[in-house]
């Protein structure tokens, strides 16, 4: 297992480096930061001096070399927009996103497993139809639209919840709701589908012939086998929550990594863009390795191959 983690980490490292190269050069296509950071009436000489001071006048490959050298020494540059080390700023924002994503994903997965399993246990029942319709709606509704409508109804209309920001438990409700909705909808569909085929499988027939309780057949025999594809999809969705909270964080003014990334891009804060991308990339790679390990944990056939 240790060997597996090592190998996967090495593969991930190559991908991370590739990503950093891409982000480094692409972000510099967005334009000259000097125009954003200096007053509109600043002179050409002032802009030159600004660029010179931050090294933007050097050829790109020199800038890149400097950046890599910095990264090797764990120096990720200074966030221009905040005048603080970029990594420090990014690391401050990241836990906010992580908390949101973790809660949303746990909620979505738990609810989806319960709802999907119950729907699959009685296909075409009233509950099944309700669950299928609701999950389809949840999976299809665009999150920005749901977020805005939610603000309109609960904050502007009813005045129950704050529109944005953090601070009280009430601030968490809408972002979590919006982030949970889509994964929940998709996962219900996956759980329902895999559970229906698992419940029709030969080993379930054996369990019935053994006289095993119905609930045990559903939640021990069928569910355990259904989890494998569910975990795969859930992993994908979790990855998109870690970096894709951009829209939701922006709408609700949530001080997470997504919002930070957008701010950095708008302000041409190269060092900060690179730092935020690096953190989310590493988080997603770690997530993927965890999912692989979980997969092997759940399926003994994979476990024994890996040994």
């Amino acid at each position: 297992m240790f060997g597996f983690i090592l190998r996967r980490s090495a593969q991930s490292l190559i991908a991370v480096i590739g990503l950093l190269v891409l982000v480094f050069f692409l972000s510099r296509l967005t334009g000259d930061p000097a125009y954003l950071y200096l007053p509109l009436d600043s002179s050409e000489a002032q802009r030159q001096a600004f660029s010179e001071a931050h090294g933007f006048n050097d050829p790109l490959y020199v800038q890149f070399g400097r950046y890599l050298l910095g990264v090797a020494n764990l120096d990720f540059g200074t966030a221009l927009s905040r005048n603080r080390p970029a990594m420090e700023v990014a690391l401050e924002a990241f836990p906010q996103t992580l908390k949101l994503a973790a809660i949303a994903m746990t909620l979505a997965l738990t609810l989806a497993i319960v709802v999907g399993s119950l729907a699959a246990a009685k296909p075409d029942s009233l509950f099944d139809r309700l669950a299928s319709t609701a999950s389809l709606a949840g999976a299809s509704a665009p999150d920005f639209w749901v977020a805005i409508v939610a603000i309109l109804v609960f904050s502007v209309g009813l005045g129950l919840l704050p529109t944005s920001g953090t601070g009280t438990p009430l601030h968490w409700i809408m972002p979590i709701f919006v982030l949970t909705l889509r994964p929940f909808g998709l996962l219900v569909q996956v759980v329902r589908g895999t559970m229906i085929s698992a419940l029709a499988s030969p080993y379930v027939k054996t369990a019935r012939a053994k006289g095993v309780q119905r609930s045990r057949i559903i939640f021990r025999h069928a569910l355990r086998n259904s989890l494998l594809p569910v975990i795969t999809v859930a992993g994908d969705l979790a990855a998109s929550l870690v970096n894709g909270a951009v829209v939701v964080e922006s709408i609700f003014g949530w001080p997470g990594i997504g919002k930070l990334m957008i701010d950095a891009i708008i302000r041409r804060d190269f060092a900060l863009i690179q730092a935020t991308v690096l953190i989310t990339a590493v988080a997603i790679f770690v997530l993927n390795i965890l999912i692989d390990l979980l997969y092997a944990r759940l399926d003994p056939r994979i476990r024994f191959q890996a040994k």
Partner: protein, 549 residues
């Protein structure tokens, strides 16, 4: 009602509902079974034999199933309408069942000990360490060596025969009175089959089990049965004492089934080739194939010697049977000869030219001359292609065989040759039965005008009566077209009247290679003899007069 039987099924009629209407799976089926006896339900696929058994266990889902009429009584108690709790109390405890394919019928993600212990916990009889100890006992009882060690292993770590033993163990754990065995040995090698049948007989003798055995295999049926019922298209066509049914079948369907069996008499020899074997078209010399088995990242790299130093010839118009059990390397031989897998070493001369040295162009011509027919004709045909497309596809690849305008006529001709009708050309594979699909596969092979056809278990998936039809067809075609066959099978009796020579393989090597008559009259190698004796013998010969009247 007469003195009640242990289990009695009366007038059972089951429909399956689908979009196309209702399909009647069983029609007024009645039978009974008593303690200590074995009732065999014999029938081919689709005869309704499994449905009857599933109904006893309450395993028919409604919908799509619909039990239209009939009663099932266990010890005089009506059990066909019992609720979930009553059903649970019956299943596993009083009536147990084992199935055809033990791998898919065991839950892949739990250790077998867990699954065995569950039988006890589900019925509230034992939990935890106590259930585990009982599970170990059972594993020992059904003949799994070192049960303490193996109890924590998963189903995929056992062999097919062991998995069926585990299934049997699970079924008899609570000492039920009735065991329903649905094709329990169909997926197993003959020698393993014999062991499983012996195990069932042993358990029956120890516990006085009533066994309802469902099978399509007449030899298995004869070896187990005290009484037999024969089913066809959902109805019982014949029933009675086993010996009487087998030796003096009354119904024409039963006679067809029994006549489909390869008998010991010489009359079947008619399927042998009628032309004198000419000079070899294929000469295989010292063929070797290794498979690399890499078991993981840091594991040692090991090799499996799948085919060991194989040499044989095939002449024009000749049929060579390659017989062996699973893992004997027989299919690897076929795959290597057709260059579907790369050879490790050795030569195979086709008309003097080494197959393994051929370049892409030569290989194309070679592949035209040598065709293959697979075991499962359904999965080897593209479901979205019509029969016309399937049969004519070789002509798209080998453009010199036939001009496009003549394709239609030729397809009709080929279909006629394999006993199908012209209108079949525009249908799709799923619209045909297994036997018909195998005929289509043969027509496709013939489209290339081959000299040699390699049949890899080509009839193994078919019902016995259909097997014989396909073999007859192959024999006819061989004599008309001068074809040669390499006929690979696990079933020694089936090649008896078809092959000219037989090669018996074990663990990748030839153990015996002789003319068919010599092999059957005077097998030299112990393994060949073992294969022959593994065919189950009728119960009335092995244990006469033990049957309770």
């Amino acid at each position: 009602m007469t003195a009640s039987h242990l289990l009695e099924v009366k007038d059972l009629t089951v429909d399956f509902l689908s979009l196309g209407g209702a399909f009647r799976a069983t029609n007024g089926v009645s039978f009974h079974v008593d303690a200590g006896e074995t009732l065999v339900i014999l029938g081919e696929s689709g005869s309704g034999k499994s449905v009857s058994a599933s109904a006893i266990m309450g395993l028919i889902d409604t919908p799509p199933g619909d039990i239209c009429s009939g009663t099932i009584t266990y010890r005089g108690r009506n059990v066909d309408k019992c609720n979930a709790e009553e059903r649970r109390d019956l299943n596993g405890k009083k009536i147990a069942m084992i199935f055809q394919d033990p791998l898919s019928h065991l839950n892949p993600v739990y250790p077998i000990g867990w699954q065995l212990a569950e039988v006890f916990s589900a019925h509230g009889l034992a939990t935890g360490a106590e259930a585990r100890a009982k599970a170990i006992d059972i594993l020992g009882r059904v003949g799994i060596p070192e049960p303490e060690k193996r109890i924590d292993q998963y189903p995929h770590q056992f062999s097919g025969g062991q998995r069926q033993r585990i299934m049997i163990g699970m079924a008899i754990a609570l000492r039920p009175e009735i065991l329903i065995a649905d094709e329990p040995t169909t997926a197993l090698d003959v020698s393993v089959q014999a062991q499983i049948l012996d195990l069932l007989k042993k358990l029956q003798a120890e516990d006085g089990l009533a066994i309802i055995m469902i099978t399509h295999d007449l030899e298995v049926a004869a070896s187990m049965a005290d009484r037999v019922i024969v089913m066809n298209s959902g109805r019982i066509v014949e029933e009675g004492e086993a010996r009487a049914v087998f030796e003096n079948p009354q119904h024409s369907y039963t006679r067809t089934l029994i006549n489909a069996l390869p008998h010991d008499t010489a009359e079947g020899a008619s399927r042998r080739s009628t032309v004198e074997a000419g000079k070899p078209i294929l000469e295989v010399k010292n063929l070797n194939k290794f498979y690399g088995l890499s078991s993981g990242f840091f594991a040692k790299h090991t090799q499996l010697h799948a085919v060991k130093d194989l040499s044989f010839n095939v002449a024009k118009g000749e049929t060579v049977g390659i017989v062996g059990e699973s893992g004997s390397g027989k299919s690897t031989v076929a795959r290597v000869l057709l260059r579907l897998n790369e050879v490790s070493s050795g030569q195979a001369l086709f008309h003097g030219r080494d197959i393994f040295q051929m370049d892409a162009k030569e290989l194309l011509t070679f592949r035209r001359k040598v065709q293959m027919v697979f075991q499962d004709p359904y999965s080897s045909m593209n479901p979205r292609m019509t029969i016309f497309d399937i049969v004519s596809e070789p002509w798209r690849i080998h453009k010199d065989i036939l001009d496009k305008p003549r394709w239609r006529d030729r397809v009709v001709e080929l279909l006629d040759l394999v006993g199908l009708k012209p209108e079949h050309a525009d249908r799709y594979p799923h619209q045909f039965s297994g036997g018909q699909r195998q005929r289509i596969a043969i027509a496709r092979a013939l489209a290339c005008e081959p000299e040699l056809i390699v049949c890899d278990e080509a009839v193994s998936a078919l019902d016995v009566s259909v097997q014989i039809q396909v073999i007859d067809l192959l024999a006819q075609l061989r004599d008309r077209l001068g074809l040669a066959y390499i006929f690979i099978t696990h079933d020694l009796p089936i090649v008896r009247h078809f092959a000219d020579r037989i090669i018996v393989m074990k663990s990748g090597a030839i153990v015996e290679h002789a003319r068919t008559d010599d092999i059957f009259r005077n097998p030299q190698h112990p393994y060949t003899r073992q294969l022959m004796n593994a065919t189950p013998k009728p119960k009335w010969e092995t244990e006469p007069a033990t049957v309770p009247a």
